[in-house]
């Protein structure tokens, strides 16, 4: 795990790198499911660059989080949209940053309420360590260590390009 | 016992007295003002420095559910005479009940009790009670409390009968049909909160009916707890026409309005209901101009009967111990003199009752209230002697604290 570089990497370039990691593994026709909102943008990119015809799924994990008792319901919940039948499908779950693993756990639980997938793989741009659950990414472009209190946020700029932003809590 | 009350500010509205001086009491009566009467030697001296010395308050409406606690509450509030509505359980419709009440009050030896006898048996508005017998047993007038007589003919006959003996009839003007389903003033707040309303017409129609019956019977009538601007205007017109009609206003109606219901506060449920701001202002003006006496309408309600949804909660608030501070608060807002304010709860009620109390004239009974007009105290259940802790003012600071109360020249309360 490397420390944070002085200037943040180009997220668009990292998406292209992620695409090349996934491209050799498309034989079982996986469906892409992006976790709002960073994962959704990345999944959109992957669909374009991998030239997939199927609409991507979009998942909001607000109803499956494990911190409802402390934090309550997130004020902006978006509807989950899975436009294909999960039953028997191979699925690539896409997110921007993998951290504790809890979001992935929630997304997996939510997907299982739609049916029984054949398999789920996890694709992320950044893995910042700090896992609290036994979750590992299948495809990952960037391992990075952050300082306490910092978080890595993927944002969509005005011109539509994705870019990283460092935020301090 | 010869008592001198010295260093106090003596205010006697009836006689226009308002000065720092001494008051002399002998044989249970006011014996002198300023100078000791000839041959007077004080056996007890009360230092009233920083205090007002005035006639004991006369409360034209106080319910005495548990008589000992409430009469103790009365004198703690500076109230020396209490008019009791006849709607206890059982209603005061038999002479023996009046006898017992008066007797018990004498035994307790605190505030004087002036019972109102029931106008009709069981307050049912049908058959007359034995008015003469009740008068003999000590009733000062006759009333239906807050239960209107529905049958106009019955009311006419009752007033005719009372007029025969020159008995006064006290009535709360509330049309039965227009008020029977209502729980709040029919106005903005009730519309918004979805509370069944009692329109002002319930009061004005009843007043108009009663005024007409007074014209026809000559019966003396006292209208209790006027709640609306239109209502007070009708009373004013009737008085102007020379009819024998007096009225009173509950002290809470001078200070609170329908807005005080807030989020369905059951302590803001009153009968008659708290009305709109313009009603409150008209009542306030009427009281200030001497048109109406002020009373507490003291109604102790158990906590369980108030901790209910608004429409199920019993109406009324504790009043005996807040009559003085609330009257002072009302007067302050109008910049009324202390003497004018105190008149509303001393000489004015005495005039309604036709009594010689409520004044500090030499020879009058020594019913005296000594209070500190600047002292503040917080209204909490513990601070009240009354069993009725129900008040919309709970937790608020009150200004005006009674230091001592005398009835018939005896100290019956000392703070």
């Amino acid at each position: 795990m490397s420390p944070l570089p002085s200037s943040l990497p180009d997220a668009e370039a990292q998406c292209r790198q992620l695409v090349e990691l996934i491209r050799p593994h498309l034989h079982h026709k996986p469906a892409l499911v992006g976790i709002f909102s960073g994962g959704a943008w990345i999944a959109e990119r992957l669909k374009q660059l991998l030239d997939l015809s199927e609409d991507i799924g979009l998942i909001d994990v607000s109803f499956y989080r494990d911190d409802f008792a402390e934090k309550g319901l997130h004020p902006q919940v978006k509807p989950t949209l899975i436009p294909f039948d999960v039953e028997g499908r191979h699925i690539i779950l896409v997110d921007d940053v993998l951290y504790t693993g809890r979001t992935t756990r929630a997304a997996i639980n939510e997907l299982f309420d739609y049916g029984r997938p054949a398999s789920i793989e996890l694709a992320v741009l950044a893995d910042r360590g700090g896992r609290e659950l036994p979750v590992a990414p299948t495809y990952c472009v960037w391992d990075v260590a952050l300082n306490d209190g910092d978080s890595l946020v993927l944002a969509k700029q005005d011109d539509g390009r994705l870019a990283w932003r460092l935020e301090n809590a | 016992m010869n008592i001198v009350i010295e260093n106090g500010r003596v205010i006697d509205p009836k006689n226009g007295v308002d000065r720092s001086t001494s008051l002399f009491i002998a044989d249970g009566k006011v014996a002198g003002l300023d100078e000791a009467p000839a041959g007077f030697t004080a056996e007890q001296t009360i230092d009233a420095s920083g205090c007002v010395v005035c006639p004991g308050l006369i409360d034209l409406g106080a319910r005495l559910n548990s008589i000992e606690a409430e009469l103790a509450a009365a004198v703690a509030g500076g109230v020396t005479s209490v008019v009791v509505p006849p709607d206890a359980d059982p209603p005061l419709d038999e002479p023996e009940l009046a006898d017992r009440l008066v007797h018990r009050a004498k035994e307790i030896g605190k505030a004087r009790v002036l019972p109102l006898g029931a106008l009709t048996l069981g307050l049912n508005g049908e058959r007359l009670a034995e008015l003469a017998g009740l008068k003999k047993a000590g009733c000062v007038a006759f009333s239906q409390a807050s239960k209107p007589v529905v049958d106009t003919e019955a009311l006419l006959r009752a007033m005719e009968y009372a007029a025969t003996f020159d008995f006064a009839v006290w009535l709360q003007p509330q049309d039965y049909w227009l008020s029977r389903n209502g729980i709040a003033h029919e106005g903005e707040v009730a519309s918004r909160l979805g509370l069944a309303g009692i329109p002002v017409a319930a009061e004005t129609i009843a007043i108009a009916t009663i005024v007409q019956l007074v014209r026809d019977t000559g019966c003396r009538v006292h209208l209790t707890r006027i709640s609306s601007a239109a209502g007070i205007a009708l009373v004013q017109r009737a008085q102007h026409d020379g009819l024998p009609i007096t009225c009173d206003i509950g002290v809470h109606h001078l200070l609170l309005t329908e807005n005080d219901i807030g989020f369905f506060n059951p302590h803001a449920r009153f009968c008659p209901p708290l009305r709109a701001q313009n009603d409150r202002l008209a009542l306030s003006t009427a009281a200030a101009s001497g048109l109406a006496a002020i009373c507490s309408d003291h109604t102790p309600v158990a906590a369980d009967d108030k901790l209910l949804p608004f429409g199920e909660a019993k109406a009324g608030a504790t009043g005996l111990e807040v009559l003085l501070p609330l009257t002072l608060k009302w007067a302050e807002s109008l910049k009324l003199s202390l003497s004018a304010a105190l008149a509303r709860i001393t000489s004015a009620p005495a005039d309604v009752l036709g009594l010689t109390s409520g004044q500090l004239t030499v020879g009058a009974a020594a019913d005296i209230c000594i209070f500190d007009p600047e002292a503040t105290w917080q209204l909490t259940p513990e601070a009240l002697k009354s069993r009725g802790k129900n008040s919309p003012w709970t937790g608020y600071m009150m200004t005006g604290k009674v230091k001592a109360t005398l009835v018939g020249g005896r100290v019956v309360y000392q703070a």
Partner: protein, 319 residues
Amino acid sequence: MHNPQLNKDGELTHLLSVEGLPQRILTQILDTAESFMEVSAREVKKVPLLRGKSVFNLFFENSTRTRTTFEIAAKRLSADVINLDINKSSASKGETLLDTIDNLCAMHANLFVVRHASSGAPYLIAEHLHRVGRDDIHVVNAGDGRHAHPTQGLLDMYTIRHFKKDFTQLRVAIVGDILHSRVARSDIHALTTLGVPEVRAIGPETLLPKHLDKLGVHVFHDMEAGLKDCDVIIMLRLQNERMTGALLPSAGEYFRHYGLTPQKLALARPDAIVMHPGPMNRGVEIHSAVADGSQAVILPQVTFGIAVRMAVMSIVAGN
């Protein structure tokens, strides 16, 4: 005066009335409901949000319909649901409303859904819970007397937003017995808070509260004038009891003047929607042709109601 529905962070902790809630909270509820609509469209119509929590349906006034939708909503949130039908006679056996609440708190209730015949009852409960230090228990008002039915008001708004999108361009008419209607009061507050420029009340003088204009409503006694160019028509149920007590002569006369017929509906915009909180009295307030017609959205209202109630319970339970 503090708003008993909001906690000290300004978040919704009880839903007692639409009145007094800022627009952002109404919008939050509607937006969250959209997500729950999606949940209700799935095969597995459940999310684990309220798993392990107990929702007590306290209905002091009978209502199978409303209680059922709350029950479905709570179960779709994975909550345990306990139904208590407390009719007046058993309450009059001595136990006060607050004693009942205390007992249920001791049974580890997390959320009370309360319907009561007295306006203000849910406020009494919320205040009591606060006083006894149980800010972790939430109250949702399922209808109190004539005062409020906030979840119905919200689902009505959801319905309008679903079909009409923009509140700020609409003319909305509410027709019928507004005086006795908690639904109407909640609708009026919601419509004005969400920025509807023209809210109309249509009915005879005896069925309209005085001072409606103070709530921002235009009053019409002539239904044809009132319906002109309306985008949304909310029909209220006329209860049989109104025919006693000299409020109305007969259902027939009411229908002739205030019933929604196809002819009267034609005076509104051609794409106007017709709503009704249910249950409907066909031939009294609404003609069957309208109730079954293409402009009626009465059945979708019911579906939206479950999602809205899921949203409300999720939001308060988390605060």
